[in-house]
């Protein structure tokens, strides 16, 4: 289990408070699909993802971004219980959705960069390091049922 100091808990919450799920969720998901186009393999049912413009306008992409951030909210509120919090989702992504867990790391990096664009210099190197520790713990929890 990952150990968290008080500073780490408050830093993660402070960053999360600045994230508007409805605004940032769609941005994050579009960014993943544009920067790592091979992730489109999981989204055959999303319709037109053939151009950057299409991805940026796609309603299903936007909706999915919000779904993922709502799930991330659970991690922010359950930092001591991430593996249990994500056990079912991990199982789903492995058995049913068959998602390569490397994709979770790609998503984590896109989340950090999207938040960096929004917060700019307010995301200090130390805050970024703490935020990434948090995200990589989420990635581990999401990978935990893959066996």
């Amino acid at each position: 289990m990952v150990k968290w100091t008080e500073l780490e808990r408050s830093t993660v919450k402070a960053i999360w408070e600045k994230v508007d799920i409805d605004e940032i969720g769609p941005q994050i998901w579009a960014r993943v699909l544009i920067v790592y186009p091979w992730t489109e393999r999981y989204f055959g049912s999303f319709g037109d993802l053939f151009t950057i413009t299409a991805i940026l306008k796609n309603d299903k992409v936007a909706a999915h971004g919000k779904v993922v951030l709502k799930a991330l909210d659970k991690a922010v509120n359950n930092m001591d219980n991430m593996k249990r919090t994500y056990a079912d989702l991990s199982q789903l992504h492995f058995q049913k959705l068959e998602v390569d867990p490397d994709s979770f790391r790609l998503l984590a990096d896109c989340i950090t960069i999207t938040i960096a664009c929004k917060l700019k210099s307010a995301l200090s190197p130390q805050s970024q390091a703490i935020w990434q520790k948090f995200l990589y713990a989420v990635v581990d929890a999401m990978s935990s049922q893959y066996r």
């Binding site: 579009a30 544009i34 664009c117 917060l119 390091a129």
Partner: protein, 141 residues
Amino acid sequence: MLSKREKDLIKEIWERLTPVAAEIGADALLRMFASYPGTKTYFSHLDISPNSSHLLAHGKKIVLAIAEGAQDISQLTVTLAPLQTLHAYQLRIDPRNFKLLSHSMLVSLACYLGDEFTPVAHAAMDKYLSAFAAVLAEKYR
């Protein structure tokens, strides 16, 4: 593969950043040291505290090298030849660390450029930095 549009975009961004090379480079290094403390092992000969002259000088060197490569990406192997030799035979930095610096550099760019660091710019820059790192490691073995 980088399209012509992407190469132009990358060149334009690095030209804009050249005047603040020290600031961007130092920021990227600080982010890398904070997130990946193992990378500090390569810098015991320098003062890498925030705002130190060593950090700013070293950050500037790195950014200027990346900016120079961006001037003509098709010539990266030629442009980087001296740096390839330096990294392979003298510095011998494990090339896995190049990815860590690349990611840190992307975050620095995001923090500096904000919304201008669009997904398109991000994708192009990630591709360029990957290519840069790959060329840099070519003489390792």
